[in-house]
């Protein structure tokens, strides 16, 4: 098991397809946290995100024979996760269409105006960033985080989102602008450059 953990995704998939079931277990352990967090970004509920995570790995397992070796596993898996999470939201009564989902812009949470000590500035900035991101359109938030939190390339994001790279760049440009604008809107007291 110790050795298996050092194998590349491709190697693990090859071995899984050859009947080495423990190799898929390694992939599950490698990506559970990422898939869970990506799912949570979309469904915003821990239980639902856990269900989406389980469904994602099961779907990927069933489709593994169709996976082309050489293709990247991570974006392929995240695409399944994204689609599964979107299906959960579509199925809920609050959303009627994918358009609603992508246009929806949750209301900002009330912001604390309490003054804080300088040593927790970074933490506060993260909290503000979380609020700013929560106020973005879901598609902007998703792409922004895939790029800047998870370091996915445009090609990988394109594969996850099933959109052309040019669309991803355009969406990312808008997401960056939105993040900055929302930061500008923040009350001075809650900014870090106090």
């Amino acid at each position: 098991m110790q050795t298996l953990q050092t194998y590349t995704d491709d190697k693990l998939i090859e071995l899984t397809l050859a009947g080495e079931q423990r190799c898929y277990e390694v992939l599950v352990r490698r990506y559970t946290r990422l898939v869970f967090n990506i799912a949570f970004q979309i469904v915003k509920e821990e239980g639902a995100a856990a269900d989406v995570t389980q469904e994602t790995f099961l779907k990927a397992y069933k489709a593994l024979a169709r996976f082309r070796i050489g293709q990247k596993f991570k974006p392929w898996l995240l695409r399944i996760a994204t689609n599964s999470a979107l299906n959960v939201i579509r199925a809920s009564s609050q959303h009627t269409s994918l358009d609603d989902l992508l246009i929806e812009s949750p209301a900002d949470e009330p912001r604390s105006k309490e003054d804080i000590e300088s040593e927790v500035e970074s933490k506060m900035l993260q909290e503000e960033l979380s609020r700013v991101l929560a106020s973005l359109k879901p598609i902007h938030r998703h792409i922004f985080l895939l790029r800047y939190q998870y370091d996915l390339s445009y090609e990988e994001i394109s594969e996850v989102m099933n959109e052309p790279v040019s669309t991803i760049k355009s969406l990312l440009f808008r997401a960056r602008t939105a993040v900055r604008e929302r930061f500008k809107e923040m009350p001075e007291a809650s900014k870090t450059e106090r």
């Binding site: 559970t32 856990a50 790995f57 099961l58 970074s122 939190q149 370091d151 960056r176």
Partner: protein
Amino acid sequence: MAKDLCSVMRTNFDRYDVDSKELTQEETAGMQKHFESCAPCQSWLAKWEMLRVCTKQMEELPVPAGLTDRIIASIEKERSSVSIVREFAFAFGCFAIFIALTMVFGQGTGQELLTWCSCFVLLISAQRLCSSLQLGEAT
């Protein structure tokens, strides 16, 4: 006027940062020159860098306890159900061979083969039943 220039340069920066091919060499050089001499833009760039670093460092949620094991168990269950189908298909294949051999060699040989195949099918069924029960207990 300077504010407009800053605004243009910042938009150019976003275009360049998303895709460096978006700007011509002249535009890129002009943008760099402006940023070198403009204090508000330097501060703006520093804030953006801080946001990027902060995004990268954002805390991820921990995986709920037991989730990974639940996933692995569900995959094992899936694998078992696929195996059952395969093994029964194999057993029925054996049975078909038995029928064919009976037709070729006659009934005397067939009786032995029938016993052998029946045992084989029963063994596989019993083994799969035990596995399913064990999996049921585990999940």
